[in-house]
Amino acid sequence: MASMQDIEFKDPPARLAQTFALPDEPSGTPAAVDLPDLPGEKMVLNMGPSHPSTHGVLRIVLELDGEIITQAMPDVGYLHRGDEKIAENMTYTQFIPYTDRLDYLAPLANNVAYALAVEKLMGIDQQLPPRCQYLRVICCELARVSAHLLGLGAFAMDVGALSVFLFTFTEREKIYNLIEALTGARFTTTYTRIGGLARDLPPGWVEQCRRFISEVVANFDESEKLLTRNRIFVDRTRDVGIISRETAIDYGLTGPNLRGAGVDYDLRKAHPYLVYNQLQFDVPVGSVGDCYDRYLVRMEEMRQSVRLLHQCLDQLPGGPDNKAGEPINVPDGKTVLPPKHKVLTSMEELIHQFMLVTQGVNAPPGEIYFGAENPKGELGFYINSRGGGTPHRLKIRAPSFVNLSILPALLPGHMISDVVAILGSLDFVMGECDR
């Protein structure tokens, strides 16, 4: 049997180039793809909206010349629920459950990003108590590990490595148990509130989480052993779906897809929110921008998330059981619901509770944009407020939506079997794309 070092990577584009003239770069106009030597008619193939590799309800209309894609037209919107319209008709707090359903693989991260956006509008983002900030970082990083584990498992399954999917889902199950203990729900967490969090940690949670993050690293190693030097996986992903640095920026790609293309940009580093500037972590960056690079970036990001989780659990103000009574909410009754025993005994808190529930928080008029580094990329909220508890307009900048817009430029020139590899490596969620 040949040892691992003996494996020589083939160069699929070079091999293909002998047969077909491939474009070097994904070009903006799909019509520019010219395949003069192939006889026969072009065929139009409909892929999706319910195809295993389209991860939800993405539909792509492909024009094929033999097995080569000459034109691709993604069709999104099958999961459109009108979240932005809904947001205009309820208070800021009432919209938090809807953010669970954007990127439903990382609801905790969406909750945090949305709460931070509203807090930025209200000007209280600097007043968040440290314990709240640490807990929110823990939420974000747990969500990142969970989302990347799923993305990785589904990607591997699409290109033929089924067992990785089972390995990663075992770990995700443990994350769901942690999230359930923390928020009371496995999927629809709704954990943040404007100005704080719904509740503090349950007893024993920190120990449970510590045990999980020390064990999950072994699972990363296992998945990596199955994939990183796997001949089939490497052949399917290497030099496939190459996105250059310039193309990635031009199409507004964010997250691991942008970093896979070699742009060293992470909102947690570039514009640190919460306590990310007090924590040590590295930002992995790809060199080629192919599917394989995007896989490697995600793999490393999970390890960095675990590193961040260790630091957060160690430095958590108030410790695991919070005997010192560190606050988790901003000390303002007009922003955060007061404790129930005070509502029932004190007039002022009763009024605060009543006003918050019926009218919502009192946000000033103005407009802000806040973007957070979510597992899929930059999740941004543009809020246009006329004052009061309801946004006049809330625009969600969904990373999956923007990341998918590169498909018409990226797919032409590839084989049809590369579509599943490219879609898997872009790692999108339609709930977020369609809103």
Binding site: V76, Q359, K395
Partner: protein, 223 residues
């Protein structure tokens, strides 16, 4: 270089076309007075000021004011790491402005979404079709005069919509609205509700049945 300096540079280049940079929550916003000139301003901002990343384009419906539409561009530069917001008003009669897809290709889907949701057209866009709703859908759902519950529409052989069952239900609360308390379900007294709410309740037989006299007043509320 800070975002404010970049905003001032842009203002110096285009003069009266842009308002003075305004700051709110650490973000710089410039207002473009003539939407027709959006492309050259954006192109210059990208080429000379290094705003190579278009984060997002949003649209706002300022219903009842002129100009009705507000189109908001969020610009970002990877080299200087500064964020700048450009916004421009578009009148309802016109509902059209030039595209910026020639500047950033990511604008393609953002502009399609705005066209789909608000009905603002982008002149010169290579492929201005609906993106989230289906081709042929007759309304623009994010407009303020489009009801939350939706409108019925039908395109034979394509798709149809009904208004949502929550229409008239108790859980649609406009915060700060005058009827917010009246619409809170536990204190609802249909007889004293606003005419509009009553009209919606008429269609909800189940709600009407629950409030029928022989059931007594709901939750002990005096009638």
């Amino acid at each position: 270089m800070t975002a404010l300096e970049l905003g001032q540079k842009l203002k110096a280049q285009f003069g009266d076309l842009l308002s003075e940079p305004a700051e709110f929550r650490g973000e710089i916003t410039l207002r473009l007075t003539d939407a027709e000139r959006s492309t050259p301003v954006c192109a210059w901002a990208k080429k000379e000021l290094g705003f190579d990343y278009l984060v997002d384009i949003s649209s706002v419906d300022n219903y009842g004011t002129d100009p009705r539409w507000l189109v908001v561009y969020e610009l970002y530069g990877y080299a200087h790491r500064c964020h700048l917001r450009l916004k421009t008003g578009v009148s309802e009669e016109k509902s059209e402005l030039p595209t910026v897809t020639t500047v950033w290709r990511t604008a393609n889907w953002h502009e399609r979404e705005i066209y789909d949701m608000m009905g603002i057209r982008f002149r010169g866009h290579p492929d201005l079709r609906r993106i989230l709703m289906w081709e042929g859908y007759p309304y623009f759902p994010l407009r303020k005069d489009f009801p939350l519950a939706g409108k019925a529409s039908e395109m034979p052989d394509v798709a149809f919509t009904h208004s949502a069952p929550m229409d008239g239900g108790p859980f649609v609360t406009v915060s700060g609205g005058k009827d917010a308390i009246a619409r809170e379900p536990r204190v609802r007294i249909p007889e004293t509700d606003s005419i509009a709410t009553n009209a919606r309740l008429e269609r909800r037989r189940d709600v009407r049945a629950a409030h029928a006299p022989d059931h007594g007043p709901p939750h002990g509320t005096p009638v």
